[in-house]
């Protein structure tokens, strides 16, 4: 309604200005027309009340009706002022203009009033003073025509005013509704803000307590319905966190205990693994040494085998040598026999030479002194023959002894050959055994190589295990420290399970 009133107030101001202008025109016309100052007096009188009301800032229905009557009366005054002049027909247009200007107030009642006043004025003037409205005397038909025009204009203006007023009212209602909605929305926002502040304050207090580690707090006071879910969610979250941290605390304790046990076990395992690694290293070294020894033994067995083979070969060669020795002995025996025969021959020869020398000596002795030298030679030959016989006899004896010894040697060589054959057989057996030993030693070396490789792998794995045990030990120590840190960390929280009787500042979980 304020908008419509403002429009009407503006229309009143416009019409007041128009009235002032019309009074001014009428005032000017006072000097020009023959009707004197009465029209000006009438114009001032008819415009005084509406102008005063407008100057008071009023725009009520009475003011509008007063202004409508004044606007409708001014053309009458103007028409009266210029009655009898040629401007009368033209002045009639001011009636329509005035009627139309009343639409500025967006009120159909002043329009109806002005139209009625105009109709009354014209009807009365048609009978009482037709000269002020018509030229040529009374004409009721013209009155009807003018009335029809005025009615048409009035109807259009009424419709226009009503539509404008309704539109303005509608807009004002819409604006008022919008303002009401805005006010309600503002109230809702204010209420929501207050509720939010209360909710935020309550949640903030709990969150601050929660930040201090107090997880036993709950929001007990009810929230507005829109935030009740938030309170329930907060309490559920706090309870979940409370329970979770309770379980974490228990788990931290168990982890700490388990970590301590793991650390002890890991230490023991590290020590045992270290000892195992040392033992495996010693075993590996022993195995390596054993393999080396066996390998050397195998090499020696091979060497012995080779030596045995050489000995076998030498024995075989010895057998052959023995055979040849036997043959040589036999040949020596034969030669000895032949030598004995030759020695016998030589002995015979020496005997005969002795006989001859003896004969020669006898003969030389008989020949006297001329043959004395000869006799000496014969003696010497005889001595030589005797020594030859003696030597032959010695040789014969020696040869006999040699033959006997050769025979003995042949027998011994035969026995030696037999022994050598036995030795060759034995050496062959020994070679076979040594070959078997060498082969077995090679197999043992190979097996020991595998064992050594296994020990190496075991040692490597053990070393890796030792390293892993070392890492596990370090991890166990770290886990224990972390568990202790976790335990210390969660120990700062005050949980509902640890809640003790007291005077809580805020509500606690049941």
């Amino acid at each position: 309604m304020d908008e419509l009133l403002a429009v009407r107030r503006n229309g009143l101001k416009l019409l007041a200005a128009t009235c002032g202008l019309a009074v001014l025109v009428i005032g000017v016309g006072t000097a020009l027309a023959d009707t004197g100052v009465l029209p000006l007096v009438l114009a001032l009188a008819v415009g005084a009340i509406p102008l005063a009301l407008v100057l008071q800032g009023r725009a009520d229905a009475g003011t509008r009706l007063a202004m409508g009557s004044a606007v409708a009366a001014l053309p009458m005054i103007l028409l009266y002022q210029w009655s009898g002049s040629a401007f009368m027909v033209d002045i009639h247009m001011t009636f329509f203009a005035a009627l139309a200007m009343l639409a500025a107030m967006a009120d159909w009642r002043p329009v109806i009033l002005a139209a009625g006043l105009t109709a009354v004025h014209h009807l009365l003037a048609n009978f009482l003073a037709p000269d002020i409205v018509w030229t040529g005397g009374p004409a009721f038909a013209r009155v009807l025509f003018h009335a029809a025009v005025v009615v048409a204009e009035t109807g259009a203006l009424v419709i226009l005013c009503e539509q404008v007023a309704r539109r303005i009212q509608h807009q004002a209602e819409i604006r008022a509704q919008a303002e009401r909605i805005e006010a309600e929305a503002a109230e809702d926002r204010r209420r929501a803000s207050a509720e939010q502040n209360a909710v935020i304050g309550a949640v903030a207090a709990r969150l601050e307590a929660m930040a201090r580690g107090d997880l036993a707090l709950r929001i007990a006071e009810p929230f507005p319905p829109a935030y009740e879910a938030l309170r329930a969610s907060f309490n559920e979250a706090a309870a979940d966190l409370d329970g979770l941290l309770g379980r974490v605390t228990s788990a931290a304790r168990q982890i700490a205990t388990g970590s301590s046990e793991i650390r002890s076990a890991s230490d023991d395992l590290a020590r045992r693994t270290e000892a195992q690694a040392s033992a495996i290293a010693a075993n590996s070294e022993a195995t390596t040494a054993l393999a080396t020894g066996i390998r050397k033994t195998a090499a020696r067995a091979e060497a012995v085998n080779a030596a045995t083979a050489e000995a076998q070969s030498d024995a075989a060669t010895g057998g052959a040598v023995v055979e040849r020795a036997i043959a040589a002995m036999t040949a020596i025996e034969q030669s000895s026999s032949e030598i004995a025969q030759i020695v016998s021959i030589i002995d015979d020869i020496a005997f005969q030479t002795n006989l001859l020398a003896l004969n020669a000596g006898v003969e030389a002795a008989r020949a006297g002194d001329a043959s004395k030298g000869f006799a000496v030679v014969a003696n010497e030959v005889r001595a030589l023959a005797q020594r030859s016989a003696d030597a032959a006899q010695d040789i014969k004896t020696l040869i006999g002894a040699s033959s006997a010894q050769v025979s003995t040697g042949v027998e011994l060589v035969g026995e030696t050959g037999a022994v050598l054959r036995t030795i060759v057989g034995r050496i062959t057996d020994i070679g076979s055994a040594i070959s078997s030993i060498a082969a077995e030693s090679a197999g043992q070396v190979e097996a020991l190589g595998s064992v050594s490789a296994s020990f190496s792998r075991i040692d490597q794995v053990t070393q890796q295990n030792a390293a892993m045990v070392e890492e596990s030990n370090a991890a166990a120590h770290s886990l224990l420290r972390e568990a202790e840190t976790l335990h210390d960390f969660v120990a700062r929280f005050r949980l509902s399970s640890e809640q003790q009787a007291g005077a809580p500042m805020l509500s606690r979980a049941a």
Partner: protein
């Protein structure tokens, strides 16, 4: 001659005063003497001397006889007769043409 409404006058009183002014305006516009029309001079207050009537007669008006309900009929009333008559306590009313039998009466316009 109505007075202007004082400030803070009630709307009803102001509207009533405006109605009175309107009635006066319509009446004056319809009945005020105009040049070329005969006028009826009607004394309202008892006066000893009708200066306005003398003034009109001195300004080319002529007596046309007595009115049917009293007063004097003036032909060719001069401009300003209405105000002069009001000052003398009388009314000067224009006589409609159809009530006027004077051959001098002529339509204006």
């Amino acid at each position: 001659m109505p007075a202007t409404t004082p400030p803070q006058t009630s709307p009803r009183l102001a509207l009533a005063a405006q109605c009175a002014v309107l009635a006066l305006v319509v009446a004056v516009a319809e009945l005020a003497p105009r040049p070329g029309l005969a006028a009826l001079y009607v004394p309202i207050l008892p006066v000893q001397r009708h200066a306005a009537l003398d003034w009109a007669l001195a300004h080319s008006a002529a007596l046309g006889g007595k009115g049917p309900l009293g007063g004097m009929i003036l032909t060719a009333p001069p401009p300003g007769l209405g105000m002069q008559a009001l000052r003398e306590g009388a009314l000067a009313l224009a006589i409609p043409a159809f009530l006027c039998q004077s051959p001098k009466a002529r339509p204006n316009g």
